[in-house]
C-alpha cells in the first residue's frame, strides 16, 4: 500500500491542491448541508428531525411537478443544444481561418455582454404585445400575438427556446478546439477510403469528439437540472408552476421560506438523480480516444 502510494506519489501531488481545496471549500459545506437535511435549520439552535424533511418533500405535489418540469426541460434542451452547438462548430470548421475567427468571435463574445442586456433582449423577444420580436415575426404570417411566458402552455417552452437561441459560443469553441486536434492524416485516409462528407463527419469527426461531447453532455445536464437564473429572471416559476424547476423550488424553499433543511433534502435528491444520469452518460460516451 505504502509502496503503491510512493509509486504514484506524483499523481497524488498533482491532484493535491484541488483535493485539499475540495475538502475545505466543497466537502465541508456539503457535509453541513447534508446534516441540515435532517434538521429544521435555525442559525442558533437547529433541531434534529430525522427524515421529516424528506417526508415533507415527498408529500409535496409541487416537488413532483418541479421534478417533471426539470426533467422535461433537460430532455428537450440538452440534446438539442449539443446538436446545435456541434452543427455550428462543424460549419465554422469548414471555413478559412479568418472566417473561423470571425464566427468564433460572433458566437462567443455575446457571453461577455452583461446579464442586464441579455435579459432585456429576452424580454423584448417575448414581449406579449404584437410589438414583441417573436410576436411581430408571427404577426408577419398573420398569427395572433402569444403571451409566451405567461400561459402554462408556452411558458416552459419559452424557457427552452431561450436556451436554443441563446449563446452556444462556449460549446462551439470547445468543439472547434477538439476538431483542430484530430490529426489531419485521418481525414486524408478517409478521403482515400472514399468517405463522403457525411461519412467523414459521422465516422471520424463525431466519434473522435466524444470526449468533448461527454463533457458538454454531463455539464449540460448538470446545468440544466440546476436551471435557475432564467426561471428567476423570466417567470419566477409561474404561471401555475409551469416553469417551477427543482432548482427554483430549492431557491424558494431556502431563501424565501428559510427552510434550509428542506432545501437540502431537495438538493440531495436532485443530486442523486444527476449522479445516476451522469453515470449512464459516462457509460454511453466513454470511449477513449487517443491519437
Amino acid at each position: 500500500m505504502v509502496q503503491k502510494l510512493r509509486d504514484h506519489m506524483w499523481a497524488y501531488i498533482f491532484i493535491l491542491v484541488p483535493v485539499l481545496l475540495f475538502l475545505v471549500f466543497t466537502l465541508y459545506p456539503i457535509i453541513s448541508a447534508f446534516m441540515m437535511s435532517f434538521q429544521r435549520y435555525h442559525v442558533l439552535n437547529p433541531e434534529w428531525i430525522g427524515f421529516d424533511n424528506y417526508k415533507t418533500m415527498f408529500a409535496d405535489s409541487v416537488f413532483y411537478k418541479s421534478l417533471w418540469n426539470t426533467f422535461l426541460f433537460t430532455v428537450c434542451t440538452v440534446p438539442v443544444n449539443i446538436a446545435i452547438t456541434f452543427m455550428l462548430a462543424y460549419f465554422i470548421f469548414q471555413l478559412r481561418t479568418k472566417w473561423q475567427t470571425f464566427f468564433k468571435a460572433v458566437m462567443y463574445l455575446p457571453a461577455v455582454a452583461s446579464g442586464v442586456t441579455i435579459s432585456l433582449v429576452w424580454f423584448a423577444m417575448f414581449d406579449p404585445t404584437k410589438d414583441g420580436m417573436i410576436n411581430s415575426f408571427l404577426g408577419f404570417f398573420g398569427m395572433e400575438p402569444v403571451m409566451w411566458l405567461s400561459q402554462t402552455s408556452t411558458a416552459l417552452f419559452s424557457l427552452m427556446l431561450m436556451t436554443y437561441l441563446g449563446s452556444h459560443g462556449a460549446g462551439i469553441i470547445l468543439y472547434l478546439a477538439a476538431m483542430g486536434g484530430i490529426p489531419k492524416s485521418l481525414y486524408e485516409a478517409a478521403d482515400i477510403d472514399h468517405a463522403s462528407g457525411w461519412a467523414k463527419f459521422s465516422k471520424i469527426t463525431w466519434p473522435l469528439l466524444k470526449p468533448t461531447t461527454l463533457y458538454l453532455l454531463v455539464t449540460g445536464v448538470i446545468i440544466s437540472f440546476q436551471v435557475f437564473i432564467s426561471v428567476y429572471m423570466m417567470t419566477q416559476g409561474g404561471p401555475d408552476f409551469a416553469t417551477t424547476t427543482i432548482a427554483y423550488l430549492i431557491y424558494q424553499t431556502a431563501f424565501m421560506f428559510y427552510e434550509f433543511g428542506l432545501a437540502s433534502a431537495q438538493s440531495f435528491v436532485l443530486t442523486a438523480i444527476i449522479v445516476v444520469v451522469s453515470i449512464i452518460q459516462f457509460k454511453m460516451f466513454s470511449t477513449d480516444v487517443e491519437y
Binding site: L44, P128, S150, T152, G238, P239, D240, F255, Y258
Partner: protein, 428 residues
C-alpha cells in the same frame, strides 16, 4: 467584526446595510454618519449601500449564516424575528424616543407587541393616474382623492377612459402587472379581508369576499378595462404603458411618482428623451360596494440585529443609538420628504418645518387622507409560524394563481377552490 476590535479596541464598529432609499440618500447618509462620528468618536459606523435587486439575497445569506449586519434597512418581519437574531429594542426605548414618534407609527415596527425596528417614514401604496386622461374622460379625481370610490364607481369611471388611440393601439382604464402580488392584496383588503390571515392568524382568504374580488378582477380584463395580455405584463412594462399614455391608471403608485415624473419632464425638456410629460394624480384603492376604504400602509426604517457570536450589551446599546440617529430629525426626515410620504417622527417634522417639500400639494393631501384609512398588515400580530405559512401561500398559491387569473386559464371559482385547499393545508 472581530477584525476591527484589535485595531482600536475602544472603538465599536456598527455595521449598517442600507439601500438607496431615495435619489439623494447616498449623500444624505454620508452626512448623517459624519455628524454621528463627530459626536460619538468611540463608535464607528460602517455602512454599505446595497442594490434593491440583489441586496435582499445578500442579507438573507448573511442572516441565515448568523452574521447579519447590526442594522438593516427594511420593514420588520416575522421571519427575521424567528431567527432569534433580531434585536428586541424595548429595553432601549426611552420615553423621549417613544414620544418623538407620531401616534401609531412605532406599532408598524412591532411584531406581536415587541419593538424590533425604528420606522423612518410611513409608506403607503395606492394607484397613480395620468391627469390628462382622467380629465379627458371627465373624471372628477379631486373628489376621489378626498372621498374614495367603490368598485362599481371605479368601473364606470375606468370604462370612460377605454378607447382606441390614433396609432391603432388601445388606451386602457387601468394596467397592472402579473408579477407583483399587491394588486390582488389591495383589492382583497378593500373588500374587507385585511390580509391572507387575520390578526389571530386565522386564514381568511377562504371567505366568499375573496371569490368576489377574484371575479371583479377577472371582469376588468373581460370588459376590456385592463389589457388582455395582463398576465404577461411585468412591472417595467406596466410603467411603460403609463408613460406612453396607454392607460389612465397604473396600479401600484406612490406619492413619490410626483418626483419621478418631474425629473422625467425635465429630461423631456432637455431633449434627452422623447415622450409626453405626465401630470401625476395619486388615487386611493376603490373599496367593495357597501364596504369601507382600507389603505395599505406600513412603516419602513431600520431593524436591529445581533450576531451568532453576540458582541455584548454595549454593542447592542450602540446599535440602538445609531438606529435612533439614522431615523430621527433631518437624518430620517429626508426620506419622508423626498418620497413625499408622511413623516414618522416629530423631530423630522421639526427639522423640515418651513422647507420646501417636494411633490404636488393635492397628492400630499391625498396621501395623508389615505394614510388615515390605513390598516396594518397582519404580519405584525401573528407568530412566526403563521407568518411563514403566509409567505408560502403567497408564493405557492397566490402568485401562480394570479397569472392564471389574468390569462383566464383558470376561472375565479377554480382559483378560489385552490386558495381554500392550499390555505387549509398550510394553516392547519
Amino acid at each position: 467584526s472581530s477584525g476591527s476590535k484589535d485595531g482600536a479596541s475602544d472603538v465599536d464598529v456598527i455595521k449598517v446595510w442600507t439601500y438607496p432609499v431615495h435619489g439623494n440618500y447616498k449623500d444624505d447618509i454620508a452626512k448623517s454618519v459624519a455628524e454621528f462620528h463627530a459626536k460619538h468618536p468611540n463608535i464607528r459606523i460602517e455602512y454599505e449601500l446595497l442594490t434593491w435587486a440583489e441586496g435582499p439575497k445578500k442579507f438573507d445569506v448573511a442572516l441565515n449564516a448568523g452574521s447579519p449586519p447590526d442594522i438593516y434597512y427594511h420593514g420588520v418581519s416575522g421571519q427575521y424575528v424567528d431567527t432569534g437574531l433580531a434585536l428586541n429594542l424595548d429595553p432601549y426605548m426611552t420615553a423621549e424616543i417613544v414620544s418623538d414618534y407620531l401616534p401609531g407609527v412605532l406599532d408598524k415596527a412591532k411584531i406581536q407587541g415587541k419593538q424590533y425596528g425604528l420606522p423612518m417614514y410611513q409608506y403607503q401604496w395606492a394607484w397613480s393616474a395620468n391627469q390628462r386622461i382622467l380629465e379627458e374622460a371627465g373624471i372628477d379625481w379631486r373628489k376621489i382623492q378626498k372621498e374614495g370610490w367603490t368598485w362599481s364607481e371605479f368601473k364606470t369611471e375606468a370604462k370612460k377612459m377605454v378607447k382606441d388611440l390614433p396609432d391603432g393601439s388601445k388606451q386602457y382604464g387601468i394596467v397592472t402587472d402579473a408579477t407583483t402580488t399587491d394588486f390582488i392584496e389591495m383589492l382583497a383588503r378593500s373588500s374587507g379581508l385585511v390580509d391572507v390571515v387575520d390578526r389571530d392568524g386565522k386564514f381568511i382568504w377562504n371567505d366568499e369576499r375573496m371569490l368576489e374580488t377574484l371575479k371583479f378582477i377577472r371582469s376588468l380584463v373581460d370588459e376590456g378595462i385592463m389589457p388582455k395580455e395582463t398576465a404577461a405584463i411585468d412591472p417595467a412594462k406596466r410603467v411603460e404603458y403609463f408613460y406612453n399614455g396607454k392607460t389612465g391608471i397604473a396600479s401600484k403608485g406612490l406619492p413619490y411618482y410626483d418626483v419621478m415624473l418631474e425629473t422625467r419632464a425635465k429630461d423631456i425638456d432637455a431633449g434627452k428623451i422623447k415622450g409626453e410629460k405626465i401630470e401625476h394624480v395619486y388615487l386611493p384603492i376603490p373599496y367593495k360596494d357597501g364596504g369601507k376604504w382600507q389603505a395599505t400602509v406600513g412603516g419602513e426604517g431600520y431593524v436591529g440585529f445581533r450576531q451568532k457570536d453576540d458582541k455584548g450589551e454595549q454593542h447592542a446599546k450602540n446599535t440602538f443609538l445609531v438606529m435612533d440617529w439614522l431615523t430621527k430629525g433631518v437624518h430620517g426626515g429626508n426620506s419622508a420628504s423626498e418620497l413625499c410620504v408622511p413623516f414618522a417622527r416629530q423631530s423630522q417634522i421639526d427639522a423640515f418645518k418651513g422647507k420646501d417639500s417636494r411633490g404636488k400639494p393635492h397628492n400630499k393631501i391625498a396621501a395623508e387622507i389615505n394614510q388615515s384609512h390605513g390598516v396594518p398588515s397582519s404580519d405584525l400580530f401573528v407568530d412566526a409560524k403563521v407568518s411563514a405559512s403566509k409567505k408560502k401561500f403567497i408564493e405557492q398559491a397566490q402568485k401562480p394563481m394570479q397569472q392564471a387569473l389574468f390569462s383566464g386559464s383558470r376561472t375565479p371559482e377554480q382559483i378560489f377552490e385552490e386558495f381554500k385547499n392550499k390555505g387549509e393545508q398550510l394553516f392547519r
